[in-house]
Amino acid sequence: MEQFLDLYGFASVILHAMELVARTVLLGSVIFWVLLAAPLGRLMPPGDATRLHAIARRTVLTAGIASLVSTFLLGLLGFGALQATLDTGPGALLGANFVVLTGLDLLAMLVLLALALPREAPGRDRRFALLGAAVLVLVAVTFGSHAIARTEGRAMLLAATALHQAGAAFWLGGLPCLIAALRLTPPSARMAGQRYSLLAATGVGLILLGSAGFWFGFIGSVEAVYGTAYGSMAASKLIMLAMLLVLGAMNYRLLHRIPSSPGGTLRLRRFIEAEMAIGIAVLAVAASLTSVPPAMDLPDDRVTWAEITERFTPQWPRLTSPDHADLAIPALQAQLDAEAQRREAAQRPQAFTPGEGLLPPRNATDIAWSEYNHHWAGIMVLLVGLAALLDATGRVPVARHWPLVFLGLAAFLLIRSDPEAWPLGDIGLLDSLRDPEVVQHKLASLLVVGFAVSEWSVRLGLLRGRVRFVFPVAMLAGGVLLLAHTHAISNIKDAQLIELSHLPLALLAVVAGCARWTELRGPPELAKVGRWLWPACLIGIGFLLLIYREA
């Protein structure tokens, strides 16, 4: 049971992200089906109309099942955690608001799935029923959101939540259907694309309206943006929405002049794939935001601008492993002791999720150790980025072996991540594997080896096919996971400052993943841009790791 509670905070954010992605696609594909495929199908050649209908139906079914499963698991997780912590029977929990709303949500999804099952194109009544069930899903999730628990401005925040989620469905949720629809004959693809751009524009408007509500109800000031986890996550979301708007604007232009050649939609498809990847990252941030208190509720202990500039002012990297003889350590320890005394004197009530507790007190050696790890990782990533840039010039053949640098990183992880255990510590390898965290680290090292060797083999032409996509997908997944991790509940300044350093890393990882993906998939004019962009992102990541500090 303790292990279950240990995983609760993390599992709920990850499940929430999955649920959010699946639900956005479900609602978006219903909108696509009813507002785009059905009316336009009548204007298309019969073959295209049938294919468009099948695309929408298939996406509704797939996203519906994914949404049903993730919503059920998320509800089950909350139910299980509550039952475990209250030590009560399941009957006593059935009336809880979130249980009732999860039930309503599941019911509405089942209705949607039932309505999508018949293969024939939906008639007027079925289309209305599909929209009605989608609205019911939206209502259920809105009434289970942050907004419902607020004491002030509840109606405004409920409206903002509904608008925001509907906007995401209009804009991002229909992208899987759109990308499939671009394989229709060029005139039909153009027709679908032009209609979709109207839906997307509607979605952008709804999202902006919802965002305005969130600003007034949850954030409220510029200081809250950089001073709290909620504010900085919302800012990351905004940056990615800006990227999406740029991509959307490019799509808008392309959608209105799709060439008749078979490869005419290739460039458009790459942009849409990038939009989908960034869309997933945005939804991961949205899921993460549900686990933190709104910025407005944390007026104390915010990180100040002066503290941010002090922390992010570059200093020479820590390239020697710490030991107690290091002269800088006693001074750092004195500073940490003073901070701890100030925190203790404040005596603010702490709050945690089940399974979470106070972090063990930091000492200067811990921090020096961590900074050393970050800085050497930064050097290696910087080397990878520079080597990849050289490789992109095509003039330095040896640079294509850059994946081998990752082998060095794997060895570094294997040696440094668990200093108490083999090979650095006294605990033997087999004994250390009883600790799940050690197992994770050792597995990570092995996976990095596999990842580096596969990418190297691709570079040498030894492996072909889908293995090429391991690298960009890993970058995207790394960025998304970094965005979706859980946060300090109160304004723990250290955690917030670390958060501020990790957010740009995550954003660069997402952009790098999209760029490498585009380089691999073409068309040539976009691949050329991607080839330079992702190494530049890696260099940025390497630099950020090099200036990383924890005190």
């Binding site: 909350g78 907004a147 549900t290 709050a351 999720t353 979470e356 950020l544």
Partner: protein, 128 residues
């Protein structure tokens, strides 16, 4: 495990080395937080108040929340939470006499948006 391990792991993830290594570890969190409490955290009181009131930033499901009084010897007493009333506050009577010493109020609340949060409010009753 020491904090440096999870940070090292984050760095490696950020370095795009391994997407699924579990870099997401870190302080988990939830939604409802304490706004004010009576007694306040760390208070040193001549006598315990007749009732405890903890106000949160979220509307609560009182029936599925819990409040424990824990003594220095770790003995736990479940306090009966008042139903109805303020939707964002937990209110419960304290025992008539609390012996001098260190006490903790251990609360767990279910916000109506489904988030579970828990925490402690320590206070001291001074000897007369």
């Amino acid at each position: 495990m020491p904090r440096r391990l999870s940070l090292a792991r984050r760095a490696l993830l950020a370095a795009l080395v391994l997407a699924l290594s579990g870099a997401v570890a870190g302080p988990a969190s939830a939604h409802a937080i304490v706004v004010t409490s009576e007694p306040t955290a760390g208070a040193s009181l001549a006598a315990a108040p007749p009732q405890v009131t903890i106000r949160f930033n979220s509307r609560l499901d009182h029936a599925r929340s819990r409040l424990l009084l824990i003594g220095a010897d770790n003995a736990q007493t479940t306090l009966p939470i008042a139903e109805g009333g303020d939707p964002v506050a937990l209110t419960a009577p304290l025992p008539a006499t609390l012996a001098p010493g260190e006490w903790r109020l251990r609360w767990q609340v279910l916000a109506i948006d489904g988030h579970i949060t828990r925490g402690d409010i320590p206070f001291t009753v001074k000897a007369p």
